[in-house]
């Protein structure tokens, strides 16, 4: 099943229509875990985008040689290889972020969305579309994390990227664990509301 959409369309679909967090509702763990600070959220998004793009590229390169029966273990190996590379890179260059979110970076390996894109897209398509799909999906993830962490840091600590902007702390609950669930729940509800209001509710709600 080759994908016939244009590259631009694949890219945009990854960000908007198939947004991993708000639309498909998978790979939620880091969406809450690392988003109490904007900086952590953005770096986590970059890491995921990088891994997804490189995994798609690698799988697409090897797609003719992978026997269908052993494809899942091969995908897992490729993914964990790239995740290891990312972990080592972040450990070297952004140590302060790595200290706080290192565990979650390592756990990118367990992302359903990365395996899903490798399986449904990269293993069946040429190099360029696979790469674009990976970047688009990764950026969609990054946008979602950025939105969530923006609200949580602003309301929880009154700061953005560590810089004080409000001068007071409006709602401490936002940086507590509970706040993460609350923000994601409210944002999902908001996107569903937009969907119902302007698009008649086609494809509303996440998978489950």
């Amino acid at each position: 099943m080759q994908d016939n959409r244009s590259l631009k369309q694949i890219f945009l679909d990854g960000i908007l229509v198939d947004n991993t967090i708000f639309r498909l509702a998978i790979s939620l763990c880091p969406a809450i875990a690392v988003t109490s600070k904007l900086k952590n959220g953005v770096y986590m998004g970059i890491a995921v985008a990088g891994v997804q793009a490189m995994v798609n590229l690698t799988i697409s390169l090897m797609r003719k040689f992978i026997h269908p029966r052993i494809r899942i273990p091969v995908f897992m190996l490729v993914i964990s290889g790239w995740v290891t590379v990312t972990v080592l890179l972040m450990n070297a260059f952004v140590y302060d972020v790595y200290k706080e979110v290192g565990l979650y970076i390592a756990l990118i390996v367990a992302f359903a969305s990365i395996l899903a894109h490798a399986e449904t897209f990269a293993s069946k398509n040429k190099l360029a579309p696979s790469f674009v799909d990976g970047v688009g999906m990764g950026l969609g993830f990054m946008v979602a994390l950025t939105i969530i962490s923006f609200f949580r840091e602003l309301f929880g600590k009154g700061t953005l990227w560590g810089v004080d902007v409000l001068g007071f702390k409006p709602m401490l609950i936002m940086i507590l664990p509970a706040g993460g669930f609350l923000v994601v729940g409210l944002l999902m509800g908001f996107f569903n509301w937009i969907d119902i209001k302007f698009y008649g509710g086609k494809g509303a709600g996440g998978a489950g």
Partner: protein
């Protein structure tokens, strides 16, 4: 001996309540939201989950400290742990299909998802990071598994009631589940500071 036992008990309580994986570390959310719609499946999943977690933590510990550390291969931990967990889950999958086909049919795709579940992978990673002994690792895994089971059961019992509640349309399904989870998480913050490790 008494002191050791106290330490293990503290580790157990910390892993299950204070550092509850779902509500303070936010791991395993896909399964947490996916399988918690009905009590029966939630219980089945929790039992499988805890068993897989304890055994895979022990296996990973043995491989990590007897093979990888002496050879200096710690940087391969992600790849090796996921291999151990995946191989073991495949085994558990086969056994469950034989022993309890009904439950197997219900849990369906999520059983396969255990293999790439974040908690099951996180436990060996944390064990390696904290340099726990074998017994400590197993206790930590058991506590984490039971903590996860507790979270699933609380969530399932609330969601069964939510089925008949009138929820505003945009919030139906997942969004309201998230807000419910936020309220439970708020209750769980009450456990913090229960034990100083």
């Amino acid at each position: 001996m008494g002191h050791e036992f106290t330490k293990l008990l503290e580790l157990f309580i910390a892993a299950s309540l204070i550092q509850n994986f779902v509500f303070t570390r936010f791991l395993g959310l896909c399964i947490f939201f996916g399988v918690s719609k009905k009590m029966e499946t939630a219980v089945g999943m929790s039992i499988t989950f805890t068993a897989v977690m304890v055994i895979s933590a022990a296996l990973s510990w043995i491989i990590y400290f007897t093979v990888m550390v002496p050879l200096g291969l710690q940087f391969l931990q992600i790849i090796i742990f996921i291999g151990v967990v995946a191989a073991f889950v495949q085994g558990a999958d086969t056994i469950m299909r034989k022993v309890s086909p009904g439950l197997y049919h219900k849990l369906g795709v999520y059983l396969a998802l255990i293999a790439t579940n974040c908690i099951i992978l996180a436990v060996p990673l944390i064990n390696a990071e904290e340099k726990y002994t074998l017994i400590e690792s197993v206790v930590f895994a058991l506590g984490s598994g039971l903590g996860f089971a507790l979270a699933m059961i609380i969530m399932a019992s609330i969601r069964e009631k939510l089925e008949v509640a009138r929820v505003p349309r945009p919030f139906r399904g997942l969004p309201i589940a998230f807000i419910t989870a936020a309220l439970i998480a708020l209750a769980f913050t009450g456990f913090s500071g229960l034990i100083q490790l």
